[in-house]
């Protein structure tokens, strides 16, 4: 659409406290440090009330941080009002101007930046083309569906050629099918242009599908920053392991530590687990072991149990059974080619060694 104007974003010790009438002073965001490279797509993910929207609104300039710095290309923007920060933003409820038609909605910011009428027209029409809405320029917002409105809102943000593009749960008001479609569309356009994007969502699938980097927040504190693979395979703590996908947490003990391998024992079975910070584990330490439901292998026979419940899900046959005082959930994919167990039946299983992840107990 334009020359790339992708800025880097750096958050330094960013903190925000709110005063509420019921709970007194609340730390909405606590000491957040984050570096976002130009052109990166970063998702702020967390349950509601985790501070992700507050964080985004501080970057936008709608909330004032209590302390900390926000740098765009090493330039501190804290003192700037939102209109001076060179941003684009897509809102949850589209936020199209109801009294203006599609063309004027998109042209709004360009007019403020005093572009020539001819240039504005070119930019608006080119923008509409990228979302395949060429014929919509004279429609008003009330004549369009939610998906169409959100696409216009996206174009309105993009034509500004902003340094950073912000998304505040833009797809949560759309129905499930449209949500999938729009998520691919946003990601495609974002990659094409290479614009720095910060995306807030509470939907982990959305975060996994779209992001270069995911920031997981809970109670205003960053739990983990990493690629989708990192946060899924190497969750930083049990909260992350349960928030991203499903996780079984079983207990074990460390019996040996080598340079990057920790040997653990679960009941009588030993596993060698790769870990970046293996040296932090001590011998005899009790650890939490994260095993994804699809990483439980029913063809192995290290452990025994009795099936408590089983549900046919189509893509998988799911089982629940007890193991070492914990309930284990298993997803056995492509069940038509496998043996299916009934409730009450005895079952043997093991964990796939390469899929095990260990955590210090807190």
């Amino acid at each position: 659409m334009n020359k790339i104007n992708a800025k880097s974003v750096e958050l330094v010790d960013l903190t925000k406290t709110f005063i509420t009438s019921t709970r007194g002073e609340v730390l909405a965001v606590q000491n957040v440090n984050l570096t976002i490279e130009p052109g990166e797509f970063v998702t702020l993910l967390g349950p509601s009330g985790c501070g992700k929207t507050t964080l985004l609104r501080m970057i936008a300039g709608f909330e004032i941080p209590t302390s900390g710095k926000i740098l765009f290309n090493d330039d501190d923007v804290i003192k700037k009002t939102p209109d001076k920060r060179d941003l684009g933003m897509v809102f949850q409820n589209y936020a199209l101007f109801p009294h203006l038609n599609v063309f004027d909605n998109i042209a709004y910011g360009l007019k403020i930046k005093k572009f020539e009428t001819k240039v504005i027209k070119e930019k608006v029409l080119a923008g509409l083309k990228t979302v395949k809405m060429d014929d919509f320029s004279t429609r008003v917002p009330s004549q369009m569906s939610g998906g169409q409105q959100q696409r216009v809102a996206l174009v309105r943000a993009l034509v500004q050629n902003p340094g950073v593009l912000l998304f505040d749960e833009p797809l949560s008001n759309l129905d499930a099918k449209l949500r999938l479609h729009m998520r691919d569309e946003i990601r495609r356009i974002q990659k094409d242009i290479g614009i720095t994007s910060i995306y807030v969502t509470h939907d982990q699938n959305e975060a996994m599908a779209m992001s270069d980097k995911i920031v997981i927040l809970k109670d205003g504190i960053v739990q983990q920053v990493g690629s989708p693979q990192e946060v899924y395979y190497k969750p930083a703590n049990t909260f992350v392991s349960n928030f991203i996908g499903k996780a079984n947490i079983v207990e074990g003990n460390v019996i040996a530590v080598k340079s990057d391998i920790v040997t653990i024992k679960i009941q009588n079975k030993e596993y060698d687990v790769k870990h970046r910070n293996a040296k932090t584990f001590k011998i005899k330490e009790a650890v939490d072991i994260v095993v994804r439901p699809e990483a439980v292998d029913l063809t192995l026979d290290y452990f025994k149990s009795v099936v408590k419940k089983t549900v046919y899900m189509g893509v998988s046959q799911d089982y629940w059974f007890d193991f070492a005082n914990k309930e284990i959930e298993v997803s056995d994919y492509n069940p038509s080619s496998k043996r299916v167990y009934k409730e009450g039946e005895e079952i043997t299983f093991g964990f796939q060694e390469e899929s095990i992840h260990i955590l210090h107990k807190i």
Binding site: T15, T17, I19, E25, L27, Q30, N31, A60, F62, I64, T66, S67, K79, K80, T81, P82, D83, K84, L87, G88, M89, F91, Q92, N93, A95, L96, F97, P98, H99, Y108, G109, I112, K113, A153, R156, A157, Q160, L166, D168
Partner: protein, 562 residues
């Protein structure tokens, strides 16, 4: 948990100030609103309070003691309360009858009942009193010409009647709005459980309306307390506080007594306003959303509809004919003695009275855009912007709605008659008075309208590079256009019809129509008074029609707002 980010109130205040400072236009606007609110709402009240508590250079409560120990003044306070309560009860009953009939009953001519609700808004506050005197006074058309009685209409009952008829439409509008917003399915549920229509009314509708009824009662009570026009025209020897404040302050120049009395009236008004908004307002069961879930099935039982319709129609015809009497009286040579047709009074007001007409129109036309803009801007600031002192601004403006006009008038005289800034006698202070008496209503509707609009729409404009002023002009104002225009209209009408505040402020330089009318009534020259009233109503009606046509031309819908 880390605790090193705790900040105290002072640093928070400072941070908010810094946030405001980022945006110079916002800072200037906030400053202007602050200065205005302080100079023309808060400071005059402080002056009154100060004056009432200072005697011979020292602090004292002797002025209050003087008021409360004087039988005469105690009597006046009693009069005011007795009148207020009577009017509130009768007014609310009539208001509820009208509201229930128009929303729940299948009766014809509902439009006429709605015209009734607009009449008190577009006419000067004492028109009803004037008409009642013309009909039932010493030389009244009915009392003397028909029944040959030299009736004394002045006093408690005359005043109670005129205030009830003047103020019940306000309660009607409010109750109608509430009744319309009761979800019919609640009543249908009650019927499905075996309740008949009467049971539905007594066990569901009425209990749901109780907070609303209390609210309407207080609303009318506050109006009655503050009413100056009717009280001075038809009150006779039955003096109320609003009138006494004027007579003591301006008539006898006893500022100590007047201010003490004003403070007492102010306290009663604010207490009633606080109960209305702070206590009852929060108890409301009916949320006014503007959306009705579904159509209500109207009651068509003739035993109910016919008596209700007949009562409403009778009251309606009576009130409308009172309003109609004024223009008729303008063409009568001498009411009570010579009923022949004359153009004398009309010629009189257009020659001798021309200055009154011109001055009033000019002042109202200047005050209108100021009040309209100030209302919207202050609503925008209050709802959308965090700035230090926001609560103070919001509280002061909304409180101003409940301020009795005489109290404000007295405050202006005290504050701007002498001292560093002298404004009395100028057109400027009159304009400010008109603005203060009308813009808070605009602020209130503006706040309500803005709360319906998702803030992210304005945020989207900000992100696109628009500063606060641009956002307000290009997004906010167009979205609350209907409220803006109805508040312009309201301000103009208010400017033309206001009596209480401006009677303290008129001078040889600047004259107001309403004051001229009062003077004529005082001298018993009803023909001239009626002619002035007629001109005033015509001026207001003309502006209203022009405005409506313009709005229709630009396809702006202010339906329901005026």
């Amino acid at each position: 948990m880390e605790t090193n980010h705790k900040e105290n109130a002072a640093t928070r205040y400072f941070r908010q100030l810094k946030f405001t400072m980022r945006d110079p236009i916002l800072l200037i606007t906030v400053g202007v609103v602050f200065i205005f609110v302080f100079m023309f709402i808060v400071f005059p009240l402080i002056s009154i309070l100060k004056e009432s508590m200072i005697s011979e250079g020292g602090f004292t409560l002797s002025n209050y003691w003087g008021i409360l120990s004087s039988r005469f003044n105690r009597h006046i306070i009693g009069n005011t309360l007795k009148l207020g309560i009577t009017v509130a009860i009768f007014g609310t009953v009539i208001a509820f009858l009208f509201a229930y009939s128009t929303t729940y009953l299948a009766i014809p001519h509902k439009k006429i009942f709605n015209i009734l609700s607009i009449m008190p808004m577009i006419s000067p506050p004492f028109v009803i009193s004037l008409s009642v005197i013309l009909l039932f006074g010493r030389s009244g058309l009915i009392s003397y010409e028909v029944f040959h009685v030299r009736n004394d209409v002045y006093g408690f009952w005359g005043l109670a009647l005129t205030q009830t008829l003047s103020f019940f439409p306000i309660g009607y509008l409010m109750l109608r709005n509430l009744l319309q917003n009761i979800d019919p399915s609640v009543e249908e549920a009650s019927q499905a459980l075996g309740a008949n229509r009467w049971k539905v009314f007594t066990t569901v509708t009425l209990p749901l309306m109780l907070p609303g009824l209390a609210n309407a009662m207080l609303l009318i009570f506050i109006q009655s307390l503050a009413d100056f026009g009717n009280a001075i025209v038809i009150g006779g020897n039955y003096t109320t506080m609003a009138v006494q404040i004027y007579q003591q302050g301006i008539g006898s120049y006893d500022m100590a007594g007047a201010t003490a009395l004003a403070v007492i009236l102010l306290m009663i008004s604010l207490l009633a306003y606080y109960i209305q908004n702070g206590v009852i307002g929060k108890k409301s069961y009916v949320t006014v959303t503007g959306k009705v879930a579904k159509e209500r099935i109207l009651i068509d039982n003739k035993k109910v509809t016919i008596p209700a319709y007949a009562t409403c129609l009778m009251i309606c015809i009576f009130v409308l004919s009172l309003y109609a009497l004024v223009p008729i009286g303008a063409f009568v040579r001498l009411w009570g003695a010579d009923y022949s047709f004359t153009m004398k009074w009309i010629i009189y007001v257009f020659t001798i009275g021309r200055k009154y007409i011109v001055d009033t129109t000019i002042l109202a036309l200047i005050a209108t855009p100021i009040a309209g803009t100030l209302g919207m801007v202050s609503a925008f600031l209050i709802v959308r912007k965090a700035f230090p002192g926001r609560t103070f601004v919001e509280w002061s403006i909304l409180m101003a709605i409940a301020l009795p006009g005489t109290v404000i008038g007295l405050g202006y005289v005290l504050t701007y008659n002498s001292g560093p800034i002298i404004l009395t006698g100028t057109g400027f202070i009159l304009i400010m008075a008109l603005v203060v008496r009308s813009f808070p209503v605009g602020t209130r509707s503006g706040i309500a309208a803005l709360k319906q609009i998702d803030p992210s729409i304005e945020e989207a404009a900000t992100i696109s590079g628009a500063n606060s002023s641009k956002v307000f002009r290009s997004i906010t104002l167009p979205l609350i256009k209907p409220v803006f225009f109805s508040s312009l209209l309201y301000s103009f009408i208010r400017g033309m019809t206001l009596v209480s505040t401006i009677i303290f402020l008129v001078s040889a330089n600047w004259q107001m129509l309403t004051v001229a009318i009062m003077n004529q009534v005082d001298q018993g020259l009803y023909g001239a008074a009626n002619a002035y009233c007629l001109v005033l109503i015509l001026l207001v009606a003309t502006v209203m029609v022009i405005m409506k046509l313009l709005l229709r031309l630009f396809k702006i819908d202010i339906n329901g707002d005026l």
